[in-house]
Amino acid sequence: MKSYQLTITVDDKLVVLERILQVTRYRGFLIHGINAEVNTGTNIGTIELMVRSERSIELLVDQINKLIDIKEVKVANSTAK
């Protein structure tokens, strides 16, 4: 089980946070921490997501990147647990 921190920059559209949470769960990643700045009126939102999974983080990054309102996904760190 590995733990990762994702920093996701988004176009700050309705339900973008829900979309990310849905994809993260569906693709087999457990969220154990979240910090979101969305609906701030700036058009750009930032979501930090701490996730754990047996699966490769690239699988999740690719799927989040497919969401229409995503600008950038960064994997900030990667630590074995």
């Binding site: 309705l14 339900v15 829900e18 979309r19 699988l59 690719d62 990147n65 497919k66 969401l67 229409i68």
Partner: protein, 554 residues
């Protein structure tokens, strides 16, 4: 040039549709979408009233798949919207461009558990490519343009636009300005063609594995040119059928769970798999860890997320197949391998000799595909008849074989055929279905009647849920749980209630005349083909088994 005349949201919807070339839509009215249906009254867009919203969604999918255009369906809020969900899921799984419009309760009532209110926007997250809920009339034009663009952009898919009733009624100073195509935000890395060419030129036993992406990319010609010039033996997924030239000696048929023996053995033995618009679906790979165990992989796709998803690749070629496939067109010296594959194709060819007088479904379907007019579009439902159609019918283009691949949705075939027929009024459309599947959207016979849609229905009737029955016999000790349908309605009487001419056949001697009568009939027709309930689909790769360890007819 902007047109500043005010119009309602409902009216704007149809004007934007027309800007995007939409001529036909499928739907069902209800309370929260009444302003849109009121605007429809004055619109040139032609609406087809289906008899269930799921039927509307599948007709829109059939329309899209048969024509290459975006399919559009409409439904009201609450149950109307939830009834679309299976169609949206089907379109997502098979990457079908669809725009679904749902009415919603007025913004002032949203979130109050109002009559026929459901959070379809929330429900859409898992079954659409993208979705919108419009709460500001001024956003509506942009949202609608984006919905059509997103449905078609990159890997195609369904988009839902939820429009509250007050937004449908609100006036907007539009703005029928030219829409601009969505910019592809995903910067695809330049394809590493050099690596792929090296792999290809070193391969001694390459196989071309073709999926539904070829048809979606409109790249049938480029694929066939690639197959011709390289001479690589080729196999197809369910959704890829029709992409390769069926007369090509190097084409080995469908691979996977019900694939041909030649196709599956070739893939298991190959040293290079050239994957084009396919995604290593579990019904294709069987036991993934033993799939094509000796092969390096070149993967062509438009969707970055499919690369390395289920199988690590040696070379990924991302982007438009029409551009990328020609870059790898190099003649190969693989005569021994070609001959071996062609030998397997001959050795393991289908055998239509079948003892007794009872009808053999594979032979009927093969004969239909030989007798049907050129460019006939065939749809299927899901189950044994679907796999027999995939195995034994011959298609010249992916848009001529419409089947629910990823989602495997029973009830798909009849409404999809209606949509296909409306998009291609001059082509024959045949819905191959089963006695289980047809009952899942049988109400769409009323849509056929209402609009005189001349779909031909071939009902393969074994009075069973045949595929489940087959698995119960093979893998559940013959414990036939809830798969007997011997109390089905009289399908001939049922068809006649909808003005559909119908006939039953049960003997081999009746087959040819019956097919010709159906094809020659001017109008809708249901041919009920009674078959032995014990017939199984062969070959079959059992679950979690390598594809070369298939069960075969004894």
């Amino acid at each position: 040039m902007a047109n500043e005349k005010k119009q309602t949201g409902g009216s704007l919807l149809f004007n934007v549709m027309q800007q995007h070339g939409v001529e036909h839509v499928f739907g069902y009215p209800g309370g929260a979408i009444m302003p849109i249906y009121d605007a429809l009254y004055d619109s040139d867009v032609q609406h087809f009233l289906c008899r269930h919203e799921q039927g509307a969604a599948f007709s829109a999918i059939g329309y899209a798949r048969a024509s290459g255009k975006v399919g559009v369906c409409l439904a009201t809020s609450g149950p109307g919207a939830t009834n679309l969900i299976t169609g949206l899921a089907d379109a997502l799984a098979d990457s079908i461009p669809l725009v679904a419009i749902t009415g919603q309760v007025a913004t002032s009532a949203m979130g109050s558990d109002a009559f026929q209110e459901i959070d379809i926007f929330g429900l859409s997250l898992a079954c659409t490519k993208h979705s919108f809920q419009v709460t500001d009339i001024n956003e509506l034009p942009k949202v609608l343009h984006r919905a059509f663009a997103i449905a078609l952009e990159g890997r195609q898919g369904p988009v839902l636009v939820d429009i509250p009733k007050d937004i449908q009624l609100a006036e907007v100073a539009n703005s029928l300005e030219d829409f601009s195509k969505l910019k592809n935000k995903v910067k695809l890395p330049p394809a590493n063609v050099g690596r792929a060419i090296a792999l290809l030129s070193q391969a001694k036993k390459p196989v071309l594995y073709v999926g539904g992406g070829v048809g979606m990319a409109n790249a049938v010609d480029e694929l066939r040119a690639f197959a011709n010039i390289t001479g690589v033996p080729s196999v197809s997924t369910l959704k890829g059928l029709g992409a390769l030239n069926p007369d090509d000696d190097n084409y080995l048929g469908m691979l996977g769970m019900h694939g041909t023996k030649a196709a599956n053995i070739a893939v298991q033995e190959c040293d290079l798999l050239i994957v084009v618009g396919a995604r290593f679906d579990d019904r294709v790979t069987g036991k993934l860890s033993e799939f094509a165990p000796h092969a390096k992989v070149i993967h062509f796709d438009i969707d970055t997320a499919e690369i390395n998803k289920r199988r690590a690749v040696d070379s990924a070629i991302l982007g438009d197949l029409k551009i990328n496939l020609p870059a790898l067109e190099i003649p190969l010296a693989i005569t021994d391998w070609q001959q071996k594959c062609q030998q397997m194709k001959n050795d393991f060819a289908w055998d239509y000799n079948h003892p007794g007088d009872n009808i053999f479904a594979p032979a009927v379907l093969n004969e239909i595909s030989k007798l049907m007019p050129k460019n006939t579009c065939v749809t299927t439902d899901v189950g044994q008849h679907q796999m027999w159609s995939a195995q034994h019918m011959i298609f010249n283009d992916p848009s001529n074989f419409l089947t629910s691949g990823g989602m495997g949705t029973m009830g798909f075939g009849l409404p999809a055929a209606i949509g296909a027929q409306i998009s291609r009024p001059h082509d024959t459309v045949i819905a191959v279905t089963g006695d289980g599947s047809i009952m899942m959207n049988v109400q769409e016979m009323a849509t056929m009647k209402r609009y005189n849609v001349p779909v031909k229905i071939v009902l393969i009737d074994n009075a069973k849920l045949g595929m489940v029955r087959q698995w119960q016999d093979l893998f559940f000790n013959g414990r036939l749980s809830e798969t007997d349908l011997s109390d089905n309605p009289d399908f001939i009487m049922l068809a006649s209630a909808f003005d559909i001419k119908a006939k039953t056949i049960s003997k081999k001697s009746e087959v040819t005349d019956a097919i010709n009568e159906m094809l020659d009939h001017d109008g809708s027709y249901l041919l009920r083909v009674q078959i032995d309930a014990k017939e199984n689909v062969w070959p079959l790769v059992p679950p979690n088994t390598a594809n070369d360890r298939m069960m075969e007819s004894t």
